[in-house]
């Protein structure tokens, strides 16, 4: 059997995730018997990652695994378990993080097993946030050094153990594939055989990390560890957790933001087969049934009267009038260089404003949470980007101490920032308080879309002075909601949302007089949240659209104009040159077809993107091709970086072409994929991603495609039609000339 006795199950019914999972796996019979054992031993394991030792004749101390830090556990059979501080939402983080650990540990990649981290804001704090958070495209870049140090320290202790055992100097021992090796004597010891001795040792301070030229795993495409169970239906997402006796619930909140329940008549609902109960809370109504169909039918059969509250008249006009007015006020200065106001008089001044709509996350896995409240505590099964917050939310609502709440994380069926919130946990615990036994709460698509936290509307006002073919002054005002002020209040300082101005304050162009200010404007009624791409969404769109407009004002080619301002950013300049080359920039195209370039420095990565799109006379757009050049520093898993750009660009194109949540009478007008469109395969362009080799520290990747695509597309549409779009999504009526800009 390939696995040692310490069994790690990612999900009930799933195989453990292992480094060698694409090699011939363990015999199915063995897997089954392990699964049965887990059933017997742990009674119910929804979708937990379960560590389980088969009892044997040894004493507890000899059986104890070696757990030198929060990320690594080695048992005496040599099984290496890597505990994932960051959750897997599709970006390949479980594989990349495991590669980083295994690299410095010199573990046998085919033998590593993965485990979700438990909730713990200290042990598993993301260094950037100081909390257990997966977001901001920073899993690799923020954990890069801490994980390497943890693994290198562990390896060093194992070497010390071997040195003691063999009575040789540690410097004569090397490690490879989960073994310590003394070449001179030919002795080898598996890590598992060294852990008893390692227990008493501690790693020396400042253990040296590997020279990147010695990397064996990092930089070489490894197959993802989370995907085999995703092609055969075996992976258990939170929505798939089925504790014995589970009931099913779905809910309706007041369609108007902030509204309350006034009255509920459940006479008809009670006739629905499988109906169990109605739960009426202050701001939502839930129906519990024997299955989701009963819950859904029951909910539809309710006659609910809502008190719509103060927002019942709010419309898009209110949102935009308020934001536009706010954007005319001076904001808090986020960055200033030179004298932007004074320098404006020294050239030809250009000004433009760019506007982005509300967007829903529309994760394919709708919001859900399963809760079992017992007299002794509470189990919560969810897919969360903030597991410790999920646990704390459940504890607060249930009135339990933290240690009475078991929060179980799952592979996530799409996060995109939505699962940085814990509202679904709060609602599910409230429902569970009224239900005898476990209850799974699943949001319908409509409820998910109408009660999201939305990507804020933004208005970016830019002005610049041009002189001698160069930008001599630049002013950028970002106006919009501050998600940070709600989500991480201590980070909101001096009126500046560091996320909203991210990649505006550090934009790459060399401009001597420069100012960015921020106006916080909270939209009426509509709750806002982080959305894939976060601050760089509005800034990349505004800056790169504006750069094209400036180039146009002086009749300069958009690539050449950007190049002229990139002397201080050689990495981006190199990406730009390669993008021009690979895209065939400047070569002829058919009528009503154009190329657009967009650059960005965001999430620590340097990216140049060229979109090629055609527009028919009716204004319909076809994106033909995307070429994307990426310098993300040291690349951990190259194929994952390519995949993230391919997918992220589609995510960004979807937003640019279709994405719009609108508000009327205090409610969201969209509800499902018919009116909140997604790009489909027949619309997807060819996408080429080229990676630039680099020895710089790793950058982030998960959100970069989402921010890169919209400006590249709109610049291509301008090249194709001469029509400049300053609002998203793309308006076909403006492109066709049926409507003025």
């Amino acid at each position: 059997m390939r696995r040692a006795l310490d069994v790690l199950m990612l999900d009930e019914g799933a195989r453990p995730l292992q480094g060698g999972d694409r090699a011939p796996g363990p015999p199915e019979g063995a897997a089954l018997s392990r699964r049965d054992f887990l059933h017997a031993g742990i009674a119910m394991s929804g979708a937990l990652v379960v560590g389980f030792c088969v009892p044997d004749a040894l004493g507890a101390a000899e059986r104890a695994p070696y757990a030198p830090n929060a990320f690594i556990r080695i048992d005496r059979h040599g099984s290496v378990t890597l505990i994932m501080p960051q959750v897997e939402m599709g970006q390949g983080i479980y594989t990349a993080v495991a590669m980083i650990l295994a690299e410095e540990l010199d573990a046998d990649w085919s033998q590593v097993a993965l485990e979700h981290a438990p909730p713990d804001d200290k042990l598993y704090a993301n260094p950037v946030f100081g909390l257990q958070v997966t977001g901001n495209s920073n899993s690799v870049r923020s954990f890069w050094v801490p994980l390497r140090k943890a693994a290198a320290g562990t390896r060093s202790v194992l070497v010390q153990s071997a040195a003691q055992l063999w009575k040789v100097p540690p410097g004569d021992i090397r490690t490879e594939n989960g073994e310590a090796i003394h070449a001179a004597s030919g002795r080898r010891a598996a890590y598992g055989a060294l852990i008893a001795r390692a227990q008493g040792l501690s790693p020396p301070a400042n253990v040296p990390l590997k020279d990147p030229k010695d990397f064996k795993l990092i930089g070489v495409t490894q197959r993802r560890l989370d995907t085999p169970g995703k092609v055969n239906g075996k992976v258990v997402y939170a929505i798939d957790v089925m504790p014995p006796g589970v009931k099913f619930a779905t809910l309706a909140s007041c369609p108007v933001f902030g509204g309350k329940v006034k009255h509920v008549d459940d006479a008809r609902a009670k006739q629905v087969p499988g109906f169990r109960q109605v739960i009426v809370k202050d701001n939502f109504v839930a129906v519990v049934g024997d299955h989701m169909w009963a819950a859904k039918q029951g909910l539809e059969a309710l006659d609910i009267a809502w008190d719509e509250g103060p927002n019942a008249a709010v419309s898009d006009d209110d949102v935009w009038n308020q934001l536009r007015a706010a954007s005319r006020k001076d904001g808090a200065i986020a960055k200033t260089v030179g004298d932007a106001d004074g320098a404006m008089s020294r050239g030809k001044v250009v000004e433009a404003a760019y506007e982005l709509p509300f967007l829903a996350h529309a994760t394919m896995e709708p919001m859900n949470c399963t809760v079992h409240l017992t007299p002794n505590g509470c189990d919560v099964w969810t897919g969360s980007q903030v597991l410790a917050r999920a646990q704390a939310t459940a504890a607060k609502v249930a009135g339990l101490p933290l240690d009475k709440v078991q929060a179980h994380n799952h592979l996530i069926g799409g996060g995109f920032g939505r699962r940085l919130e814990t509202d679904m946990v709060a609602s599910a615990v409230q429902i569970a308080q009224a239900v005898d036994g476990p209850v799974k709460v699943v949001w319908t698509r409509e409820e998910d879309m109408r009660h999201d936290v939305y990507r804020p509307v933004y208005r970016d006002v830019l002005s610049a002075a041009l002189s001698g073919g160069r930008i001599v002054a630049w002013k950028h005002r970002v106006a919009g909601s501050s998600v940070i002020a709600r989500w991480l209040p201590p980070a909101f300082q001096k009126g500046i949302d560091i996320d909203a101005v991210d990649s505006a304050v550090d934009m790459p162009y060399d401009i001597p007089n420069f100012r960015v200010d921020y106006v916080r404007d909270e939209p009426p009624a509509v709750p806002t949240g982080f959305w894939r791409g976060v601050g760089p969404n509005n800034n990349a769109f505004a800056i790169e659209s504006f750069m094209d407009e400036l180039a146009g004002k002086i009749g300069k080619d958009p690539v050449a104009f950007r190049r002229d301002h990139l002397d201080k950013s050689p990495r981006l300049k190199a990406a730009l040159e390669l993008a021009a080359q690979k895209s065939g920039w400047g070569s002829p195209l058919p009528a009503r077809t154009g190329r657009g370039i967009a650059l960005q420095v965001a999430f620590g990565s340097f990216i140049a993107t060229v979109a090629e799109a055609e527009v028919d006379t009716g204004g319909e757009v076809r994106v033909r091709r995307m070429v994307c050049i990426v310098d993300t520093g040291i690349i951990v898993n190259p194929d994952t970086v390519i995949a993230q750009l391919q997918g992220g660009l589609i995510f960004g194109l979807t937003a640019a072409l279709y994405g719009k949540i609108t508000i009327a009478k205090g409610r969201v007008q969209q509800g499902n994929f018919n009116d909140y469109r997604m790009m489909r395969i027949n619309e997807a362009p060819a996408i080429e991603v080229h990676l630039i080799k680099s020895g710089e520290a790793p950058g982030g990747i998960g959100e970069t495609g989402a921010t890169a695509a919209p400006p590249a597309l709109c610049n291509a549409l301008y090249a194709a039609t001469g029509v400049r779009l300053r609002r998203l999504p793309v308006d076909r009526d403006i492109l066709s000339g049926r409507k003025a800009t």
Binding site: R22, M89, G90, G92, R223, R224, T227, P228, K230, V231, N232, G233, K234, V236, Y237, I239, D240, M242, F248, P273, D290, H291, M292, W293, A362, T363, M364, E365, P366, L411, I412, G413, G414, G415, F416, T444, R445, D639, T640, A643, Q644, Q646, G647, G648, L649, I650, F651, T654, N672, F673, N674, M678, M679, R680, I681, N682, A684, A686, I687, G705
Partner: protein, 150 residues
């Protein structure tokens, strides 16, 4: 009681006949590989086969299935086309979050079974009903062609 033939087995369930097959599979039979995405046959996450043809189980009443053979993601690997598609999905590393992929694989396996060498237009026609929020379309297209060559 409703009797269903699923992945080669006959299963009896206590379900109202208007209950969509999706919920019968997931909530009554524990076959959770078939996913809920939209409830309106708009996204394809719930795709299963009825006698080999792809259908959206979120709108298909269990009472209308009758004697037809249901195949789900849990069973598709036993068909030659299904096994090829699953392998191609891993070989080309199609999957990201994976939530839509059960449905994508079911649509792709049905395509490959009836058309062993699909062209781009065939792929568009067969797969346009399946949304992938992670945007894996480029690799889905390649993986179908890869499976066709296998």
């Amino acid at each position: 009681m409703v009797s269903l033939r699923i992945n080669g087995e006959t299963r009896e369930i206590d379900a109202p006949p208007d209950m969509p097959l999706l919920w019968a599979l997931r909530d009554l039979l524990g076959l959770t590989g078939t996913k809920f995405g939209c409830g309106m046959a708009l996204c394809g996450a719930c795709t299963v086969h009825l006698d080999g043809a792809p259908v959206r189980s979120c709108l298909l009443p269990v009472g209308s299935v009758g004697e037809r053979q249901i195949t789900t993601i849990e069973g598709i690997g036993t068909s030659p086309a299904g096994a090829k598609i699953q392998k191609a999905w891993l070989d080309l590393e199609v999957v990201q979050c994976g939530y839509c992929q059960s449905g994508q694989i079911m649509s792709a396996a049905a395509l490959l079974a009836r058309n062993p060498h699909p062209e781009d237009a065939d792929i568009d026609a067969a797969m346009a009903g399946n949304i992938c929020r992670c945007g894996t379309y480029v690799r889905i297209r390649e993986a179908i062609k890869h499976a066709a060559r296998a």
